[in-house]
Symmetry: C2
Subunit: 562 residues, 2 copies
């Protein structure tokens, strides 16, 4: 029943999808045939000689792609698995070569440096061709980053059975590029700590989804796991323990690992709220530090915010942010700005004294503070990124290039773009991975989560990035991301809580499937998401099952309407 | 703030709990002091000479307990972790010996054989004493199963720091026994398959929670992973693949592993519904096999039910159930009986023909079928267990010793016990671990789960097992269990979806905490559950974080009221 329900109309092509079309996210333009090809035992990937001095991360990407093709060993998800293809593959032509080429005149930069450009400047487009006769396949692009995306697609064309690696649908012609320049994932490493190995595995998984922005919410009120040169006292006193720390070397390692996978790492040091832990080393800079009852001073325990009206604190914060910014090559830096608690400052004698001495209102002081911290990060070459409250709730002077993250509700998107700011979708009602798992504050027998219910992959996938926006407003949408706030997470449930759910936004913001009928889009995505999820699992990420295997093997058979 | 809020009144004793009281489930009677004791380097556990021919599983349990005490290395969850105890522990007396003894005249049976007795006959009581002067600790019981429970408690008394294993609260006097004889966990291995290693790890975790009943929902409509002697065609054609099979040897291995840990394994072969997969090998026995649209014939795909009006099918089923029953030493066998779809039988020509030929109504045929299958399992010495519909929705003759599992709603409990049946709590509104994770049927953009929301540990913990029951009705309550239906689960998320949540019902049905104020019970349980969860993690189970570590280190500080 899948063969008839899976007729998908793409924007530019009419294409029949078969279960073999397991590329995720779906390419923007894809033409496939019905000819099987076996991978030759001597299969190799060659970087065209016209790419002089190919960067080392491109060489490594080629090696990684070869390893994936060799080791994935993914049996196709049909009844009988790979054996269902044996007859078709027997006697098929072999594919022995893939060649990577850059368009004439394209600059030869590393994948890393291309990925670390500003979102608008990243060129991720590529063309991929696999002829039906087994003569060489090719990927061409305008950048090494585009070649990397093409390689990622190429590895997803293959299935395996009984010693043979094959694809089913040659000739293949793909012209692909992302609908939006930002497909991200936020991970909070403060509420609970994640070792570097977990971050790397997450970056691997992101790269297989062509996600390009890791939003590292690295510190918060609960712990300060980042060793910052010149500010090492913050981690020394604020990390959970000496093992739960990211050294500058760890950061460089993560950033480099991400870059080689086409991912930029944007760090966030949330200010002026979400900073209680700074009081461990610098009590002089924090208002209402661990004040009780916490609910009067913060949205979650412990309470504590930077004394933003204090010149000394403003200077300290500016210095800290600049020092952190220098650890990350990204063009972006998030200064946060969410959930500022007014009562904390009202009750803080020092803050009131400072406001009185200058005659500033709280909002004026926040503006002064924000201008200072943004100036500090601009001085080291970064564009500021902020949470929506900085635009919607406060009177803060922001550069018009500032990126705004909407988190409270997708209902707030229009108000932000109406003010002319570029926007990244990160709304709790669609993209929060932690919602629906129960509440975590103590002495709460009901145990509900503030952002119930659980956000299913289907719900995220059905989000419309430009709902209610004018054409001009829609141009301000940079893309979007899933987010994992880690109050109830850790290495123990990282993979199951993130994957394959986050793949939904990866495809949403690359392929823009919701431009059509949502019910159909979710329906046709499911068998592809199964294949993708099983492939990710073959590569070592603990993606969860979306259905009984009986359903995964029978595309469409478990549909409500089947 | 914890020290004042943690005054807990137990049924028989007034006890001050400190964070060191990490025993889970909470002992029924516990007296502790404030004297620290260090574990001697030569610490040993001795089985009293009065226990002649101690069974091998008791010897193994002693070895396992020694290994846990040595390897747990759990630093106490306070700010500074174990170093906070260094001063107190320095110069403490050492504890060098624990002796296990049976009460005079007690039978010396294996833990396994004690665990496999009927629930009413299991004696799990024990007494544990740790004197403050470091002279020998002791556990006494009426059975090896009681000794095993005591050993489990003993291993949870210890913390670790910097090479020293210690406890803080000698003298300790514990008189303990379970409030209910059934503390269980159901795992569905049909929707998705779980290798034996995952089952064993789950049994380990259950044993640390003093859970004693593994309810193995081993087959269902989606797959038949059980190799049954005489019926091997069912797994040969109905397992997902040849690796996703439990051989008789695997079953014996799981049963033996469970028994040595004080756990009985009750197998379930759900009938007459939930049997579509039998059609792979025996189409003649299944009505509406894989009929479409599935929603007209079953609650989930694929449709298919045993042709219960057919004498041949009844005979086949009786034979199959007896053969499966013989693989399990338990006194219990579940024949299921949930979600029988009437339309499937109405539309099935064979069933209608059979009913017409005998003049039976459907309900009469169901009665005949159930009497036959129950007779078959009684013939091999088992007591039948059924789901609630067999009592509440159908007119089936059941032996009055039949155990009934309530799953649809806890509102149905009273109706079942009013009919005089023994009952096990398994209600979806309190104990379903799969709820709230999103729906899994395809083409469903909303993606809601039928049993939303997620059942938090707090919610499960606040369940009252005897709500609205008379004293006589309450005597029919055997206990309860958490349940994992595996439509969206597999080895990838087994630990995170089950633990530490299932610990809530383990303590609920052992310690009966809900006899007091629920808000207080949840509040005082949380720090103990943290310690327990972190300890389980040290032993290799991926329990999830319930709170930011900041909260875990500061009992009470993240309470709503703190």
């Amino acid at each position: 029943m899948f063969s008839t329900s899976a007729l998908v109309v793409l924007t530019t092509l009419l294409t029949v999808f078969t279960p073999a079309d397991a590329v995720w996210p779906q390419p923007q333009n894809l033409q496939t045939g019905t000819t099987p090809l076996k991978l030759s035992g001597s299969f190799d990937i060659t970087i065209s000689g016209s790419i002089h001095n190919a960067p080392s991360d491109l060489h490594q990407a080629v090696q990684d792609a070869k390893n994936f093709i060799k080791n994935d060993k993914l049996e196709r998800l049909v009844v009988g698995r790979g054996s269902a293809d044996s007859a078709a593959v027997k006697g098929a032509h072999t594919l022995s070569k893939l060649t990577l080429s850059l368009e004439k005149g394209a600059a030869v930069n590393s994948i890393t440096s291309e990925a670390q450009k500003a979102p608008d400047l990243r060129d991720e487009a590529y063309t991929l061709t696999v002829p039906a006769d087994g003569t060489g396949a090719s990927i061409t692009a305008n950048s090494t980053l585009g070649l990397y995306r093409g390689l990622t697609t190429f590895t997803q064309l293959f299935f395996y059975h009984d010693g043979t690696t094959y694809l089913l649908n040659a000739p293949i012609q793909i012209e692909d590029s992302p609908a939006y320049p930002w497909r991200g994932l936020l991970l909070d490493t403060s509420r609970n700590f994640f070792p570097v190995g977990d971050l790397k595995r997450t970056l691997d998984a992101m790269s297989w989804n062509k996600m390009n922005q890791f939003h590292w919410h690295i510190v918060d009120s609960q712990s300060f796991p980042l060793q910052v040169p010149g500010y090492t006292e913050l981690a020394a006193k604020g990390a959970y323990d000496s093992a739960s720390v990211y050294s500058p070397k760890d950061v460089a390692d993560v950033v480099s690992y991400a870059g080689a996978r086409g991912i930029d790492v944007m760090v966030e040091v949330d200010t002026p709220g979400h900073t209680a832990v700074i009081s461990q080393a610098h009590p002089e800079h924090i208002a209402c530090a661990e004040a009780t009852p916490w609910a009067s001073f913060a949205n979650e325990p412990p309470a504590g915010q930077l004394r933003l009206a204090s010149p000394a604190t403003t200077q300290f914060t500016s210095g800290l942010l600049a020092a952190v910014a220098k650890m990350f090559p990204s063009s972006l830096f998030s200064t946060g700005g969410d959930e500022i608690n007014a009562n904390c400052y009202t009750q803080d004698e020092e803050t009131q004294k400072a406001l009185n001495s200058t005659g500033q209102t709280f909002e004026q002081a926040l503006d002064t503070f924000t201008q200072a911290t943004h100036k500090a990060i601009r001085n080291v070459g970064k564009t500021p990124v902020v949470w929506e409250e900085m635009v919607l709730d406060h009177n803060v002077t922001l550069g018009n290039d500032t990126l705004v993250l909407v988190w409270i509700s997708s209902d707030n998107v229009k108000a932000v773009v109406e003010k002319g700011f570029k926007l990244v979708h990160a709304a709790s009602d669609y993209f929060y991975l932690d919602c629906g798992g129960g509440g975590w504050v103590g002495a709460n027998p009901a145990g509900n989560s503030w952002c119930d219910p659980f956000k299913t992959w289907q719900h995220s996938y059905s989000f419309n990035p430009i709902a209610n926006l004018t054409d001009d407003e829609a141009k301000l949408i940079m893309g979007g991301q899933h987010l994992l706030w880690a109050e109830q997470s850790g290495p123990q449930n990282l993979d199951p809580i993130v994957w394959p759910r986050a793949a939904a936004s990866a495809e949403l913001f690359w392929s823009n499937p919701s431009s059509g009928n949502i019910s159909t889009a979710v329906d046709t995505a499911l068998p592809r998401l199964h294949e993708h999820s099983y492939r990710m699992r073959q590569r070592g990420v603990n993606t969860i099952n979306l259905q009984p295997e009986w359903c995964a093997l029978r595309p469409g058979a478990c549909d409500l309407t089947a």
